[in-house]
């Protein structure tokens, strides 16, 4: 009904737009810009210099870290999805509505606990003389090294992602048409086969999006690799924090950050395209 | 504009993008009239009502309210309260607060607000529910709250958008009586949008029949029933047998006609258009065994609706 924007509509619509333009989009653009700046006598200076890019992209250390981060994030995404799926399936298909609601509430709780505190808690569980190894010692096993290695890092990443992935998977499974499953059973499709031939394809978009979120979270996480993985050799996020906190070489950190954003956008685009591919046909 | 018209639609067109919702509305509504706008869903009847309420702006043409051109005037600056299909009662307010709402919006003081709202609660016989929540009321009670809320400013015109469609059949009939009596008592104009022929024909003084954005016919229920302007209206009213015939003249009970096969007949009603000429459509040829029973029915047309 309203054609020209009224004062009313502007007052409600614009503040968020201005805030996000000024404090979200602009800083990100600024980040790309400073990746071309130079640092002289500990001061950043506007420039159009490809030196930072050249320096970072020709370093073996960067590409090692890049590869390591990719592998870690991919493993975390796959692992979390695999652990989450049976749980999401059970929540969505086997629980009563009340139990479902409670389960969802319970799974929201971790979002409001400090990730740092949980990671610290894992340290106590996982150290060589920690709770888990002590428990294993009672039955004559171990000790197993669980801290400062890939295992530790993945424990942290799964801790970070699991509640979110279960929630997203459960929501998408809730939308799977129940009649399809009965139809499949009716057509003598076995229980397990029904899950993979009917349930998974029907919920594909949600499952892919959940895995994508796990990838994004793990890809950018610096806490698990640092405090559970030992931090050495570094991942990309650790590189950024190291470079940033140890001096004024922000342009080089910006190069790493821009590479990360580029990678995330590519992965996200590929995942979403894949998720919707056969659906749209 | 005739002297007693309260509403005038002057060549009003409403488009949503390429879609023409109302093609060319051109009619008047008299003071104190009960006008029904009737048609199937998507015919433009609700859009017509919303333009009158000021919730939509016409694409072209003019709307006059009480002699004043009201195009572009916001709905909150008109006094054209509406009763909604969903009723749209405020769930976070009590019954009394709902009824007081438009007085509050107009800056009426608290004491007067309460007193005027009470009067309408009384009139609608819902005083005992004044402090209840909307969720605690039955369908019929909500209906009365919606009416009281719309009428509390004592407007000259009340707009109703399929207000009875959520009620069950039994309650519908009762509310029709309530609405008819209310309109007669208050003497104000009701504009009533519905898809139901029985609602329109039983309550309205005049009926507007719309289809695909166009007004097909305006008239009293009897006129529309007896002399539908065209085949669409005849078919829309339903349950009729329609034959092509040549009209020879008037007979004692209706029209003397000759059918295509050469047989003669004397049907009572016909579709308007030709005057005794050739190739007119013949309308509502009764089956032989039905003709004796229905022949003498007269009145406002409502009793003729159901022919089997």
């Amino acid at each position: 009904m309203i054609k020209r924007p009224s004062l009313f509509s502007l007052v409600l619509t614009l503040p968020l737009l201005i805030w996000q333009l000024a404090f979200f989009l602009f800083p990100l653009i600024f980040l790309v810009a400073i990746s071309f700046w130079t640092v002289k006598t500990f001061q950043m200076q506007p420039d159009l210099n490809f030196g930072n890019w050249q320096r970072i992209l020709t370093r073996g250390v960067f590409w090692d870290a890049y590869l390591r981060t990719m592998i870690l994030a991919t493993s975390a995404a796959v692992l979390t999805s695999a652990i989450a799926f049976p749980a999401s399936y059970a929540i969505s298909f086997k629980l009563s509505d009340t139990a479902k609601r409670w389960m969802i509430f319970v799974l929201i709780i971790p979002f409001f606990t400090s990730y740092l505190v949980r990671i610290y808690s894992w340290q106590v569980f996982l150290t060589d003389a920690g709770i888990i190894n002590a428990a294993l010692a009672y039955v004559g096993l171990g000790p197993f090294p669980m801290l400062n290695n890939t295992f530790g890092t993945l424990v942290g990443m799964v801790t970070l992602c699991l509640p979110l992935v279960i929630l997203l998977q459960t929501f998408s499974l809730n939308f799977v048409n129940r009649d399809l499953i009965e139809a499949a059973h009716n057509l003598r499709c076995g229980r397990l086969r029904t899950v993979f031939a009917v349930v998974v394809p029907s919920a594909k978009v949600g499952l892919v999006v959940a895995a994508l979120f796990a990838f994004i979270l793990s890809f950018g996480d610096f806490v698990s690799p640092l405090y559970l993985g030992g931090g050495n050799p570094p991942t990309l996020s650790i590189m950024i924090t190291d470079i940033t906190k140890s001096g004024q070489q922000w342009p080089r950190a910006a190069v790493v950050a821009v590479m990360m954003i580029g990678t995330l956008m590519t992965v996200a685009f590929a995942a979403i395209t894949y998720a919707y591919k056969e659906r749209g046909k | 504009m005739t002297s007693n018209a309260i509403v005038k639609f002057d060549n009003v067109v409403k488009k949503f993008g390429d879609f023409v919702a109302v093609e060319r509305a051109d009619f008047e509504i008299a003071q104190g009239e009960f006008l029904a706008i009737m048609g199937s869903s998507g015919c433009g009847k609700t859009t017509t009502l919303r333009m009158l309420a000021g919730l939509e702006d016409p694409t072209s043409g003019n709307i006059y309210l009480d002699g004043e051109r009201v195009n572009g005037r916001a709905t909150w600056d008109r006094d054209t309260p509406m009763v909604w299909q969903s009723l749209a009662l405020f769930p976070f307010l009590t019954v009394q607060e709902n009824v007081e709402f438009s007085l509050k919006m107009r800056g009426v003081g608290k004491a007067e607000r309460s007193q005027r709202a009470r009067k309408w609660l009384d009139k609608m016989q819902i005083t005992e529910f004044a402090d209840r929540n909307i969720a605690q009321l039955s369908g019929g009670q909500r209906q009365r709250v919606a009416l009281a809320r719309a009428l509390v400013t004592e407007p000259k015109i009340l707009l109703l958008d399929e207000p009875l469609s959520a009620l069950d059949a039994h309650l519908k009939v009762r509310m029709q009586a309530v609405l008819s009596n209310l309109q007669r008592d208050l003497g104000i104009t009701f504009v009533y949008v519905t898809h139901s022929m029985s609602e329109a024909f039983s309550m309205a003084d005049r009926v507007v029949i719309m289809s695909r954005g166009q007004i097909e016919q305006i008239g009293t229920p009897e006129e529309i029933y007896r002399q539908p302007h065209n085949r669409f209206v005849a078919e829309f009213l339903g349950s009729a047998n329609i034959f092509d015939a040549v009209i020879e003249g008037q007979s004692d009970t209706g029209w003397a006609v000759t059918y295509e096969g050469g047989q003669h007949g004397d049907p009572r009603d016909r579709i308007a258009g030709g005057q005794g000429g050739r190739q007119d459509h013949l309308y509502r040829q009764r089956r032989k065994h039905a003709s004796q029973r229905t022949g003498q029915r007269r009145g406002r047309g409502r009793s003729h609706c159901r022919w089997r």
């Binding site: 009313f8 509509s9 409600l12 619509t13 968020l16 737009l17 996000q20 333009l21 404090f23 979200f24 800083p27 600024f30 980040l31 049976p86 749980a87 059970a90 389960m103 509430f105 971790p110 409001f112 606990t113 400090s114 990730y115 505190v117 990671i119 610290y120 808690s121 106590v124 569980f125 003389a129 709770i131 002590a134 801790t159 699991l162 509640p163 979120f213 994004i216 890809f219 950018g220 610096f222 996020s237 950024i240 922000w250 910006a254 950050a257 995330l264 | 309420a53 000021g54 916001a74 909150w76 006094d79 309260p81 509406m82 909604w84 405020f90 976070f92 709402f101 438009s102 919006m105 929540n133």
Partner: protein, 265 residues
Amino acid sequence: MGNENKLINALLFVHIALCLIFIFAPIAGSFVFSLNSDRFPSLPLGEFSFEWYRLIFNDPLVWSGFFNTLIVGLTVAVIATLLGFGGAYADFRYNFFGKSIYLALALLPPTIPVVIMGLAMLAFLSRVNLSGTTISVIIAHGVMCSPFAMAIIRLRLSQMDPDLEAASWNLGGNEWATLRHVIIPFTKPAIFAALFITMAVSFDEFAVAWFVSGLNETLPVKILGFLQGQVSPRINAIGSLAFLSSMTLIVLAQLLLRTPGAGKK
């Protein structure tokens, strides 16, 4: 149903239980460790002790961190909820050119890794001489929290009969009056939920705050400091207290969202 398999169901429920144990072990662990006298807790657990709580209560740096967190959290909650309300209403009510870009801009911040957000914020805010201030943390958290507020309020608006707003206009309320007397009362539970939840998000955010806060550290940044320095079970004590306060906020938010429209007795 005839084709349910009891064994498979039992295994599935065991799996859920294991997932929950995995998720809640570190949370429960930090509670237990915070009340344990050992610096490096292991089996068997040491004695019950309030030592770590006593230490943090006597630490002025923890208190200053707490007050910074509180100031930031309260301000962010109000700002993010106001911004989110506007965004939610814009999405609910209007169709305009570039709306999908508007929505993307409004909702994308949580998908950007916090280190990148942190670096971008730091670079930008130090350029405008705001880095190292509490304001910079508020700005950054405003960006990160408003999507949550927007989502919560948008969800509530989608439960509203769209005729309600039009009915109010029709009854003589202009857009402002309708906002005040209809939209806000209707979304009130969601507004409070948004306030609590954005506050809770801000309370726990450490990464971006660490980048931009300088000396005005919030409590989570303090924890990060503890983690980097000597291992200290004080983290558990702070974490447990923070968890309790966050949970209080969340439960309040839940209670508000569960009884919509029941404002009156």
